[in-house]
């Protein structure tokens, strides 16, 4: 692991972002290593979402550099980020309600069979692979059910299954445990552990302190567009993190 840990999968240097007169991010440096789970915390408006969107290719940074697995990268759209191996599970899950679970998992990268010049969807292969992924996630989700008819936990499973499809090297999860049952939270945290075992780096954006302290190796706290703390989880406490988030403590 030492050689792998030597090169961070994601390295941000001096990232800044302005929207007109508003400075959303300022001089953010950050590193994420393979197999590491990093918690990203902060109040609303602290710049978490902007940071995530920059890493995911939704926004271009105004300043700074992003390096992925040692190489400088410039994303002009989310697809670019996905191509190098960054996947995002969005808070609103970004699912199309009117499609089936399998269709959502494979959205934008459908499996096809070609008949001469015509490429038709391979429904069977997609359903089988989706079922396998739901099995890995231990979620009782049928690939051919419509997402419209699913529970919050099942939707979560569909969104997470999507990131597993591409064998991403960095998975960012935006509030994955915000709207689901206690049992489902256990499952999602279990999944994060499994991603970690496979050497996948995970960034967990969450408001839920217990979840962050249960799975993360390191916690990064944002406040007013700046990084205020970046500490191994065993060297800090929920109380200190709360103080950093609210501003009771300026930096650590």
């Amino acid at each position: 692991m030492t050689s792998a840990e030597a090169t961070p999968v994601l390295e941000l240097t001096g990232i800044g972002k302005e929207f007109g007169a508003i400075r959303a991010l300022h001089e953010v440096d950050m590193q994420v290593f393979p197999g590491e789970v990093v918690g990203l915390m902060g109040d609303n408006g602290a710049g978490k979402s902007t940071l995530v969107k920059i890493i995911a290719g939704n926004f271009r940074p105004s300043h700074g550099e992003i390096r992925f697995a040692g190489n400088a990268v410039h994303f002009s759209r989310p697809l670019d980020a996905r191509t190098v191996g960054i996947e995002v599970v969005y808070q609103d899950l970004a699912l199309a309600d009117n499609l089936t679970a399998a269709a959502n998992v494979f959205l934008g990268r459908e499996l096809k069979r070609t008949f001469g010049p015509i490429a038709l969807l391979d429904h069977k292969a997609m359903a089988a692979r989706a079922l396998e992924l739901f099995g890995e996630l231990r979620s009782e989700t049928r690939p051919d059910d419509l997402v419209k008819q699913m529970s919050g936990g099942q939707r979560q499973a569909v969104a997470i299954a999507r990131t597993r499809l591409s064998n991403a090297r960095l998975v960012m999860m935006d509030e994955p445990t915000a709207a689901i049952s206690v049992r489902q939270v256990e499952q999602v945290l279990g999944l994060i552990h499994r991603l970690k075992e496979q050497g996948v780096a995970v960034m967990l954006i969450s408001h839920r302190m217990p979840d962050v302290f249960a799975v993360c190796d390191r916690v990064v706290v944002m406040r007013r567009g700046e990084k205020r703390a970046d500490k191994p989880i065993h060297q800090t406490s929920p109380e200190e993190v709360t103080a950093l988030i609210t501003g009771a403590k300026e930096a650590a």
Partner: protein
Amino acid sequence: MAMPLESPISFTNVGRIRWWQRGIFASQTGYVLLALAVLLVIMHFASPYFFTEGNMQNVAKNFSFIAIATLGVTFVIITGGIDLSVGSMMCFSAMITSMVMTELSAPGSPAGALFVHMAADGKTVLAKVPGLILLVSILAGLGVALVAGLVNGFCIAVLGLSPFVTTLGMLSIVRGLGYVVSNGRGSFPGGPDADYFYALTSGDVLGVPVPFIYLVILALAMAVVLHHTSFGRHVFALGGNEKAAELTGIPVVRVKIEVYVICALAAGLQGIIISGWLGSAPANMATSYELNVIAAAVIGGANLAGGIGGPLGAIVGCVLLEVIRNGLVLAQVSSYWQQTLVGVIIILAVLVDRIRSRMI
């Protein structure tokens, strides 16, 4: 319970959705189809003329006259958009087709000299290559539709204008251009290829009207495209959740432009077929047809909010409208009632669907 796949999951908490709660049985298209079947039975008892061969041919022909455009607009509606320019587009394509045909068939004109020559008797105009004029003029008609569709798509997908406003503008632009190029007079398909033109647009094969045959072929093609290609998947995804579609890397702009082009081409083809049946392309042809087309799509189950719709629904909607019209004529009810009834049916169809989705 037997699972069809070797399942790695045991479903203890999640039941299987019953067959009557999924697919066509749980869709508006399903009920409207049922309503249509009931209506056909009623018509059979109400009028002895309804199920005669002649009347059936009539019905098949008449609904085919709006159904191809309805297929096109259904694509747009599934993505959550709307295209109000279909009526004008029908007229403009038909007009360009017949004008190009007339122009190319005039032996005196510079373009005509390339395609036709005078017969020995000095009166009959002969085509140099039979069918070529027809091909070129239909391509010209579809070409203008393609351009209008591209403009619609560009304004909506790239510039971000609202589909309603853009296509409302296009409705007016295209209708106006039709008046400009024809000087308000309308045009007639003419020349040596006119017979082919009429055979291809208003003829029949073994008693089946050709527009109906085109409709069936196009509807089958649409079903395959919508449900078995990634383009179709993306069309549905766009209507279901545009943001999700964008985040998952679907080429949203391209898909949007493509659906407006498909819609314009379908409308253009529809217009060309109608002009063959009318024998001319008057400048006021297909005025307000966009309302019939959209009404048919909505009655058939396409959801204006996006994400739902298909070729079967489009056709069922058109058939229902035509059967009602035909029925009212056979029952000797004033045809003025037709529009009122169509309005009632639009609202009823959507209402029934709303009640059903509340019940589940």
